[in-house]
């Protein structure tokens, strides 16, 4: 067995082990820590699968943003649990939930196992579109995302905005329009402030770099945006920055900028290039970068707003 194969096998076993442990952990904090470790390991797995684009996303979202989201959610759950102690689920409910989970897992396994040996695939068509005229990019993944399946990519960002709206709508009526609670209540340590002051500007640069090289090398709008979002949260955790009020016009404009610009350019494609979401051949690359720049803004704003939670009613 070559060194590489041994490395892959060890990594795979490790991922399964950490996943199993995360699911079975009883301590909430320990489970979240396990989940972050799991995200880190998955990033390594994606690199081994020759998908550095996905690895970057996993590192930023799986290891970073989701970890912070889960910690924040855990904190709120703790507060709820101390307020009202619900009855633990009875045996019947547990068996029912277990059976339901087994059913779903079984159905999924069945579907995977009965796939035809050469599954139907859009990959050749996508590869052709990515290398064809009108794509104009060196990175096939970005080309597929923005040229071949541009409509899906646009809708994904709309889903992100809907998710933010969903979080906001959970807040109390009286709190509507206010800012979410800060990510940290007491004043932070000097060390945390220093860390945020160093990381945030460097991270801004790296996020923009990842976005910019995404046209021709692994990277892209989502990865860059997610890194920028993480840096925004770093600044909020050190209280260098407070979450904005949710009725702020700037915030809302930034949220919708990505999909809106994408939609306008897409509709313009109808007149300029013959059909919806098509780009005129010679302008494909600048146009795609133009759209992506606004996408970066939307993603960088949406993710921290998701983590910050609903607007805060102030005194409880």
């Amino acid at each position: 067995m070559s060194v590489l194969a041994a490395l892959d096998l060890g990594l795979a076993l490790l991922v399964v082990g950490v996943a199993a442990w995360t699911v079975s952990a009883r301590n909430l904090f320990a489970a979240v820590v396990g989940y972050v470790a799991y995200g880190l390991l998955l990033a390594l797995v994606w690199v081994r699968l020759y998908a550095p684009d996905v690895a970057l996303t996993e590192a930023a979202v799986g290891g970073g943003v989701t970890g912070v989201l889960l910690v924040t959610a855990g904190k709120r759950l703790d507060a709820l649990a101390s307020a009202e102690i619900g009855a633990p689920p009875g045996r019947g409910l547990k068996i029912f939930a277990g059976a339901l989970a087994a059913l779903v897992a079984g159905a999924l396994a069945w579907v995977v196992l009965t796939l035809p040996s050469t599954p139907p695939s859009l990959a050749p068509a996508a590869a052709e579109a990515a290398s064809g005229p009108g794509a104009g990019l060196g990175n096939p993944i970005t080309a597929v995302l923005i040229s071949y399946r541009s409509f899906d990519t646009m809708l994904e960002k709309v889903v992100l905005i809907l998710a933010v709206l969903g979080v906001w709508s959970v807040g109390a009526d009286a709190a509507w329009g206010r800012a979410p609670a800060p990510l940290r209540k007491p004043e932070p340590d000097g060390a945390m402030i220093l860390l945020a002051q160093v990381l945030a500007p460097v991270g801004l640069l790296i996020g923009l770099h990842i976005f910019w090289v995404g046209a021709d090398a692994p990277g892209g709008a989502f990865q860059g945006g997610a890194l920028l979002a993480a840096m925004g949260m770093v600044a909020m955790m050190a209280r260098l920055m407070a979450p904005p009020r949710i009725d702020s016009r700037k915030l809302r404009l930034a949220l919708v900028a990505g999909p809106a610009v994408f939609l306008v350019v897409g509709v313009a494609g109808l007149m300029l290039a013959g059909h919806l979401f098509a780009y005129p051949q010679n302008f494909a690359k600048p146009l795609i970068l133009f759209i992506e720049a606004f996408m970066v803004v939307s993603i960088a704003v949406a993710l921290p707003m998701l983590v910050s939670g609903p607007p805060d009613g102030g005194a409880k």
């Binding site: 340590d189 945390m192 860390l195």
Partner: protein, 92 residues
């Protein structure tokens, strides 16, 4: 020659990761474990980076390696400080 340098530096880096892990597992309390962790963080990664620098194709690639290490240093030092303070507060 540069291969030999890489070999030695990377082996030393691997050793520090190993030592850090042993420390994390075997040291008796959290503060001593923190001490072991910061060695692995800073020296282990630093030596690996040092070993890879001669293998970088362009000066920019080498600079990127150094930036990775610098980021890890800043993060490692500050989180170690924060963890230490959290521990001391917990003990009082």
């Amino acid at each position: 020659m540069s291969d030999l340098f890489s070999l030695v530096a990377i082996c030393a880096g691997v050793f520090f990761f190993f030592a850090g892990t042993v420390g994390l597992l075997r040291f008796p309390d959290s503060l001593t474990r923190l001490h072991a962790l910061s060695k692995a963080d800073n020296l282990g990664l630093g030596l690996v980076v040092l070993g890879l620098i001669p293998r970088a194709d362009t000066p920019l690639a080498a600079l990127k390696l150094v930036v990775v290490w610098a980021l890890a240093l800043v993060s490692g030092a500050s989180t170690a400080q924060l963890i230490g303070r959290a521990l001391r507060r917990g003990r009082k």
